[in-house]
Symmetry: D2
Amino acid sequence: MMKITVINTGGTFNKRYNPIKGQLEVPKDNIALNKIIESCHNVQFDIKNIISKDSLDMTDVDRERICTEIQNSISDNIIIIHGTDTIHLTSAMIKKRIVDKKIVFTGAMVPMSIDESEATMNFSMALGFLSANPSLGTYIAMHGVVVNSSKLVKNREEGKFLIQE
Amino acid sequence: MMKITVINTGGTFNKRYNPIKGQLEVPKDNIALNKIIESCHNVQFDIKNIISKDSLDMTDVDRERICTEIQNSISDNIIIIHGTDTIHLTSAMIKKRIVDKKIVFTGAMVPMSIDESEATMNFSMALGFLSANPSLGTYIAMHGVVVNSSKLVKNREEGKFLIQE
Amino acid sequence: MMKITVINTGGTFNKRYNPIKGQLEVPKDNIALNKIIESCHNVQFDIKNIISKDSLDMTDVDRERICTEIQNSISDNIIIIHGTDTIHLTSAMIKKRIVDKKIVFTGAMVPMSIDESEATMNFSMALGFLSANPSLGTYIAMHGVVVNSSKLVKNREEGKFLIQE
Amino acid sequence: MMKITVINTGGTFNKRYNPIKGQLEVPKDNIALNKIIESCHNVQFDIKNIISKDSLDMTDVDRERICTEIQNSISDNIIIIHGTDTIHLTSAMIKKRIVDKKIVFTGAMVPMSIDESEATMNFSMALGFLSANPSLGTYIAMHGVVVNSSKLVKNREEGKFLIQE
């Protein structure tokens, strides 16, 4: 059975509404992820829940932590759930530092708890991509495609990740 | 931009509740599919909506129709949305007849209109798989993996597609 | 705190999709109801789950059972969740037989599991109506109003309950 | 047909996620409300969308505006959708100023766009209460009951409206 390590670092993908505070929070759990993978009957997941931050608040220490988790992962197939605002920074750092794994970054513009389709699509594209046994490298799965992580860039005005040639 | 032809033939993936008849129907539209692809900003889809049947009712004539649509498709990347009960029959027939395209069958055990996560996951794995530029062939994307179409089989007692070695 | 007895007899309100059978079923549980009442912090509910049928299959024996449950209820405020096809028959029978309680029939055209708004609206109108301390009698809460149970009739062509003067 | 004026002033009930800004906003539209009333086939609604604020930002000028809208309403049955943080202030002011209408305040702790059941329940209790033809007065419909507006108070620690004797 296919083995995949998922490193869930937080971001919009995971956000949930806290009715007492009246705002969205990044919870320290995998509820959003678990809803998707409950139908993944042919994958053995190893899930690491770390950091749990909006990616605007992610520090260099956090990025080192992600790097260490990847280096220690039991699988060479890795999906990283990450906030969209600094996913380009973390993926660029990982791309330089780790060359012997298949790493797919993903995330969402809309929380899974608000609308399931975009978050589920982005994560599941990563699954399908890893099923194809791609070359070692660092990729990003967002908005319809999975490509080399430097090629897909967030357009902040439109709220879309778009391929940048 | 990546081009993908989607041949939407119906099945549980598309079913919607008709409150007047009090039952689920296979509609002749792409509402379920459109919800998923509205976030696919980096793919150009060519969508064919044909047959619109529960796959238990699919005939040899219907299968010929699917075959013809594939042969005439403007893209070599093809996703076929199909009912789960006879997806093995149609994919086996297509596998024999068409060898010069990348064809991914998918579907769902639960209608998109009832729960978005499984249907979105299955379809989106097909997207991610095609992003990896796989070999020509006929595949199936269900329940966590995308594999050669003969290898993933519906277990009717459990309601799961499972890899059969 | 307000006390309400809820007699949940099944019907479309409760239906859920069974992915293994590929069809909607009337489950023998209160999952649909529980989703609504989890926000009812000012009501003490006594819930009876009986019959669990599509109302087309409801028999005279079933109706006697409902009558007995009402007579034995610990509260005089009663909400009955019932299938829409024979809600007029059961409510007419109860109206004749029980005159010393406040009984509100309700149900849904679309299962709570498929779309939460109509089922929640119908049930919650019954709650609001009972909050107003109405006269003893048998009522129906559907599609925007709560009225004497003989006045609101299902229009089968349109799939709507409409007031019949 | 029953006539009801709905004055939609904003609040959590209406909030929607803006993926570009990455936050919840109070939109200047009735999308949340329209989802509920699309099944209200026996009510003629007159909807006023005004203010569109989180109720913490509501000013005395805004409250005067609500008062004027009520005085000018074409129906004597009025539902006011309001943020939960200052619903007690606005309802207390309206209670003093207007004595010849049936006014029901309502709102939600969780946006309709995130979870439909609580918002739908609160609004629909107001509908059911007005169906019972209550005495003139100012009421609040939240969390299972509809009572005199001064009797139901937000418990901020628990995120619940609770009856205060």
